[in-house]
Symmetry: C2
Subunit: 128 residues, 2 copies
């Protein structure tokens, strides 16, 4: 899926541009991937709205109350909740016939901190 003509771009031509620059990788590739997945889960208007709703409540929220806030079909909301579940951004709990979702702040905190870290110049990103 990626090309292999990398060596064609590492000639001395770009030595004219900048000194050879070795930028240390910020965190492992695995970390990058999981951050991308988390950000992608948030990068949808419906899901971000759901997350906002959950963030405003301390108590879990019933799926039917989430669904009623959108002009979208129930399977669509269920799909979005699954995406949020998959990246562990939400907790869920079945109570009888209903399912209750709540925000998993422990999963949100690292991403918020990560973006904060990008604001500081030259700040190393946790590589663990």
């Amino acid at each position: 899926m990626q090309n292999n003509n990398n060596e064609s771009r590492t000639t001395e031509s770009e030595a004219d541009c900048c000194p050879v620059l070795t930028i240390r990788p910020a965190g492992s590739d695995l970390r990058l991937q999981s951050r991308v997945k988390l950000l992608a889960a948030l990068a949808d208007p419906t899901r971000l709205h759901i997350v906002e709703m959950l963030s405003q409540l301390q108590e879990p929220l019933c799926v039917c109350d989430i669904t009623s806030q959108f002009d979208l079909g129930q399977p669509t909301i269920s799909h979005h909740l699954k995406v949020l579940r998959d990246v562990k951004l939400v907790h869920w709990e079945k109570r009888g016939l209903w399912v209750y979702y709540s925000l998993n702040r422990a999963a949100l905190e690292p991403i918020a901190g990560y973006l904060d870290g990008l604001l500081a110049i030259g700040q190393a990103v946790s590589s663990v």
Copy 2:
């Protein structure tokens, strides 16, 4: 593109579930949309890597130095830089034959603060 059977979900059936819940919209729809666009710009491994690279440098970075870090063609990197430009996450500046990019921390800061705000229970999101 959206269904219109919303009223079928607002019957008294869900009164059995939870008390009628009015969740105030967190910020305008426009704010939500622009946040989604910013998050989507970050939610790609190549672009997040670029942003990380820029965040570690105070000086702008030449496109050729960015391109050399990836096994991707030059047009692909150029495309990703355009996405970052479009949401104003980066500044760019032409110097002779080369183009230099730098992180626009002023555009990153609101999103970082927004995610921080989601961590606090019941915290109202800026609606301006």
